[in-house]
């Protein structure tokens, strides 16, 4: 709050020095090129008609009322005389410019401002209060006359009128004045209006959306479905129908609203239509909005001309005109200022065109140049969009004064700016387009590359996993290898040990078998005898027996082999048989499983039979050995008897152990045999199942055979029937032929008769 107050004070100070400001600036302007600045300074001349007062600055309020007052006086006598006088005074003023300059240069810049402030404000205040009531009446009368006789007045007192409009058209005459200014009375669009109301526009929905959001705080437009909103909608919709290219554009509703507050909808429509068409507004609202960009550019360029340092500050802070100036152009300050000031802006806009918007905008910015220079972007934005409009709503005249005094607006320069912009705009557009294309291309490329990257990363991950696994495997393998090497060396060592004494081992194993058998028999005494016999006997003796025994073993094994091969052949035959039967069976899936099982079963059977045979063989061996040993015993019993008790005891113990182990082995064998039997049983049952299946299949096949027999019988019957039928056919055919023959005979007879009759006829004719 304190800040705002401070700012206001500063603004007031600035305002009080307009007279020095224009004089400073006037140096650069030729009188012919800039009418505004001259006429502003000319006002004090007209007011006092004393050249001495003109160097004193004046408040704009008094300025305007005095101008009107003066104009009124002159009008009463003779209008032409006034004009002459004005021009004369203008000339005088031009001549006085030098003196003005000298005054300002005398005082020095800041000093002269301060001093003039002090003197100016009280005088202007007095002027304002003294003459306010009086001048209001006079203004009213004058405007009444002007409105009634617009054409003439404009022709004769154009400049005067313009000046008066700048000071604000009285509310009462505004509607009429606006219509006169844009010459909308004779506009043909008024006639079309009622018809346009009946049509519906494609932009209707968009317009409806904004109607309630246009001047929502104004009573006239506040009520939903009230008259204000309805006429606002009507006018905008009618325009969207007239100008299909522009249709409806956000922002225009505020201008239409301002018009509707001054005149009926029909007139407002006509004025709006002309404003759009002839006042550059239509260009602004076009869908491309290129014109708005141009306006921004022009505003920026003008700012650069007026105050390069402020322009540079804006640039440095990233403070762009588009951040605040769009509504200035699109709503003609209607959303920036309060209604009163906004309406005054429209007064001047209708009278002078878009120029006023630039002037006001620049005036606004330049008036607080000092403050803005010290602000950053955010603060500037707030200052320009909130603080300044709030301030000027209370001091409207001040704003207009600054707009006309401080701003140099040169149409030639504007044209140059426009051409520059057009060039820049075109290059920018093309560049932007290129950039967009490039951007799109890069984006797609980027996406593709990213995809590839992802793919490669996943692949990479997989490969890394694989590598780790491979390494682990290799380590495991190496470990295994070491273990195997160790095992191998152990095995080699064992092999070497075994090779070193083979006959001894063979002998020992032979003895074990013998003892095994004897223990089994239970003759401990004979055993002991036999053992001592063995141990005492010479080497040739037991080697002979050993060889014999081995030979016998060989014979046995060969026999077993033969038996085994024969059983294998048998089994194979059976297998073949079963396979064939299985093939015959239709139920393949089950049959295949059964076949496999059968094969496995057969194998087991074979194994078990082999085991049985081995056992039998071992028994035989033992018997043989026993017999041999008995023979030996009988032979040796008589010849030698000696007592070597020590040897005896040790051998006995060993033999007992051996016997026990052999018994265990025997038990194992028995269990194996029983297992094998079981297996055989299983196999037999499965075989039976197979057989039953085979039977079923055979039954099926017999059924099928019967069916086929029946079918054959049927066929035979049918064939017989066929034969009969063909016979009948032949019979009927022969009958037919006979009939045909008789017919032909009859035909021949009848033709003969015809011939006879013809002959008769001819004979009768001749007769």
């Amino acid at each position: 709050m304190a800040q705002l107050e401070q700012f206001r004070q500063r603004m007031r100070e600035l305002v009080r020095s307009p007279a020095t400001a224009p004089t400073n600036r006037m140096e650069g302007i030729s009188p012919s090129s800039d009418v505004m600045s001259i006429s502003v300074v000319s006002k004090p001349v007209m007011l006092h008609s004393k050249p001495g007062v003109k160097d004193h600055p004046h408040d704009v309020a008094s300025n305007s009322s005095n101008a009107i007052n003066h104009a009124l006086e002159q009008l009463n006598k003779d209008e032409i005389a006034i004009l002459e006088k004005i021009e004369q005074q203008n000339r005088l003023l031009e001549a006085d410019k030098k003196s003005l300059k000298s005054v300002s240069s005398e005082g020095g810049h800041s000093g002269s401002r301060r001093s003039s402030n002090g003197s100016a404000s009280p005088t202007s205040l007095h002027n304002g209060t003294d003459q306010s009531n009086d001048s209001n009446d006079k203004t009213w009368n004058l405007w009444g006359r002007i409105v009634n006789n617009w054409g003439d007045y404009q022709r004769k007192n154009g400049k005067q009128l313009k000046e008066m409009i700048r000071c604000g058209i009285p509310h009462h005459f505004r509607g009429l004045a606006w219509q006169h200014l844009c010459n909308s009375h004779s506009s043909p669009s008024k006639e079309k209006y009622s018809e346009l109301l009946r049509q519906s526009s494609p932009s209707e929905k968009l317009i409806r959306r904004d109607i309630a959001r246009t001047y929502p705080e104004q009573d006239f437009f506040k009520d939903k479905d009230g008259v204000g909103q309805e006429v606002l909608f009507n006018v905008i919709k009618a325009y969207s129908l007239v100008d299909r290219e522009v249709g409806y554009c956000q922002g225009s509703a505020f201008i239409v609203g301002l018009l509707l507050m001054q005149m009926p909808e029909e007139d407002a429509f006509a004025v709006f239509e002309i404003l759009m068409r002839e006042y550059r507004l239509r260009e602004l609202f076009k869908p491309s909005m290129a014109e708005l960009g141009l306006c921004m550019f022009q505003l920026e360029s003008l700012l650069q001309d007026h105050s390069p340092q402020l322009f540079n500050h804006f640039q440095a802070q990233g403070f762009h005109t588009s951040m605040f100036a769009s509504p200035w152009f699109l709503t003609l300050f209607a959303t920036t200022f309060q209604l009163q000031l906004a309406t005054r802006v429209l007064d001047v806009f209708i009278s002078e065109g878009m120029e006023i918007i630039f002037r006001l905008g620049l005036g606004l910015l330049l008036s607080s140049e000092k403050e803005l220079m010290e602000m950053d972007m955010e603060a500037m934005l707030k200052h320009v969009t909130k603080d300044l409009p709030q301030f000027y709503d209370k001091e409207p005249d001040l704003l207009f004064q600054r707009a006309f005094v401080c701003v140099k607006y040169n149409s030639k320069k504007i044209k140059r700016i426009t051409t520059r912009w057009e060039k820049e705009y075109m290059t920018m557009r093309s560049k932007e387009h290129e950039e967009q294309v490039e951007m799109r291309r890069l984006r797609t490329e980027n996406r593709l590359l990213r995809q590839r990257l992802d793919e490669m990363e996943s692949e990479n991950g997989q490969l890394a996993d694989k590598l780790i696994q491979d390494r682990v495997n290799r380590a495991l393998e190496a470990e295994e290898k070491i273990i195997m090497g160790k095992e191998l060396s152990i095995a080699k060592r064992q092999l070497g040990m075994q090779n070193s004494h083979p006959p001894g081992q063979l002998f020992i194993s032979f003895v074990w078998i013998l003892m095994d058998f004897m223990f089994y028999v239970g003759e401990s005494q004979s055993t002991s005898y036999f053992i001592c016999l063995i141990f005492q006997s010479d080497e040739p003796l037991y080697s002979e027996a050993f060889v014999m025994q081995l030979q016998q073993q060989l014979v046995h094994t060969k026999l077993q082999e033969a038996e085994a091969t024969s059983t294998i052949v048998d089994l194979q035959d059976k297998l073949c048989d079963l396979r064939e039967r299985n093939r015959e069976l239709e139920d393949n899936s089950n049959a295949a499983a059964l076949q496999e099982e059968l094969i496995a079963v057969k194998m087991r059977e074979a194994e078990s039979s082999m085991g049985m045979k081995e056992l039998a063989h071992k028994l035989h061996q033992l018997e043989d050995n026993w017999q041999v040993s008995v023979k030996h015993m009988s032979r040796m019993a008589t010849s030698r008897r000696s007592n070597n008790t020590k040897h005896h005891k040790v051998a006995m113990q060993e033999l007992q152990e051996e016997v026990l182990s052999s018994r265990f082995r025997e038990a194992k064998m028995f269990t194996e045999v029983t297992e094998a039997r079981h297996r055989i049983m299983e196999l037999e049952t499965s075989n039976q199942i197979c057989m039953s299946k085979l039977h079923r299949a055979a039954d099926d096949s017999s059924l099928l055979k019967e069916r086929s027999r029946v079918a054959i019988d049927n066929e035979k019957i049918l064939r017989q029937e066929l034969n009969e039928a063909t016979a009948r056919l032949a019979h009927t055919e022969s009958k037919n032929q006979e009939a045909l023959m008789t017919l032909r005979l009859r035909e021949a007879e009848s033709s003969m008769e015809i011939a006879e009759l013809k002959q008769r006829i001819s004979s009768l004719q001749t007769k």
């Binding site: 709050m1 968009l206 959306r209 904004d210 959001r213 246009t214 001047y215 929502p216 705080e217 506040k222 554009c249 956000q250 922002g251 509703a253 505020f254 076009k286 869908p287 491309s288 909005m289 290129a290 708005l292 960009g293 762009h320 588009s322 951040m323 100036a325 769009s326 509504p327 699109l330 709503t331 959303t335 010290e374 602000m375 950053d376 955010e378 603060a379 934005l381 707030k382 969009t385 909130k386 967009q436 951007m439 799109r440």
Partner: protein
Amino acid sequence: MAAGPYNYSYIFKYIIIGDMGVGKSCLLHQFTEKKFMADCPHTIGVEFGTRIIEVSGQKIKLQIWDTAGQERFRAVTRSYYRGAAGALMVYDITRRSTYNHLSSWLTDARNLTNPNTVIFLIGNKGDLDAQRDVTYEEAKQFADENGLLFLEASAKTGDNVEDVFLETAKKIYQNIQDGSLDLNAAESGVQHKPANRPGQPLQTDQPPKEGCSC
């Protein structure tokens, strides 16, 4: 209302986009002023608002640009997309057409912002559930398919409005933390302010209350 020195370490730039009349300006006003503006005139060009928030103990200043919704204003607003770290894409849950236009807004947002810009989809006017024309589920699915954050909010009641702005900031902050958003990149929409330098003008640190210009 003295302009006390706010110590914020980041500035995030947001942009609010969406069809006409979906409530963009009202969302901004609700966020910056914490109240609903019933009679808000329609936006011409762009408007601006600001507020300081806190994310993970960091003070962050949000600079929010609110844009005009009419299609032709994209010519004016497109330059505001460029430097945005967050884009709030608004539709009106009571008007399906505003939802149907989302893909076009999204295309604009994707083409004109940088790839790290966090896009938040907002279904506004959540208070008008009786007039609902777009279901939560379909919008959620649309958001998921396009990798957008999503919430339904109400500028009128203030429901979820804070969350929308905060979640966006959190996501942006997260992007900064995990390095996916480069602070030095041009147009990242984020400025880092390590410390409050005494030479800086204090106007930067105005209280958020006066920020909204609508």
